[in-house]
Symmetry: C2
Subunit: 119 residues, 2 copies
Amino acid sequence: METKAALRTLSALAQETRLAIYRYLVEAGPAGAFAGTVAEALGVPSTTLSFHFKELSNADLVEGQQQGTYIRYTAKLDTIQAVVGYLTETCCGGNPEMCAPVAVPLPMPAVKRKASRQQ
Amino acid sequence: METKAALRTLSALAQETRLAIYRYLVEAGPAGAFAGTVAEALGVPSTTLSFHFKELSNADLVEGQQQGTYIRYTAKLDTIQAVVGYLTETCCGGNPEMCAPVAVPLPMPAVKRKASRQQ
DNA sequence: CCGTTGATTCCAGAATACTCGAAATATGGA
DNA sequence: TCCATATTTCGAGTATTCTGGAATCAACGG
């Protein structure tokens, strides 16, 4: 993931309504939820919700599948992992073992590199 | 971490300059970097940079330590982890084991009922 | 004290994002 | 076909955020 995509993803989640939508879909699990259901659950007008769904889709955070008249939205959890990977990939100049406190819930690419000095 | 804090953190990172600052500090590792060094490296006016440092501090993403005339900033990596935890804590209604196969195409139960959107 | 340098605050203009009503589009049933 | 429902697009008003110059504050050396 490169900077532009990461920025899109972070921007998408950095908004109250969209964060609520995303969390709702995460909680819903692989089955997801219909757009109308989310609108009703969160008390957001459908027109506003549509705007936010679009943002989340562009950020690759959710996916919509047409099912008859309805659209079923699901959260794409792996995008979050990608963002975390992006944020930590340059960690300590490529020596993530120095960044102990961060435990990414995914197997991290074991990048081995020479230690560099700074001070 | 609760919603407000998560929103603050995500908003802080969802900005080009701040994301660059944060990544710069992540790469710098525990030693961090001086404010002026970051300003020069990223080509950002000190007044603008100060504004963004403040945002990042409020979001608990960086920490500044006065050292003589200079201020040394370091990235607080564990905050990222807290956000990820927040985003996934409600995963599948509290059954995270269901979230494992993210890429699996979900089975689509035929929804043919009129006013029923549940499942 | 001064003068210098690093960093922040103040402020206003510019740019961007959010909201939601009305209208348009899409789908399926009668 | 016509109708009902779900969702999106359009558009304009509102709100928020970003930027950077000028002024200010803080720390040091002389």
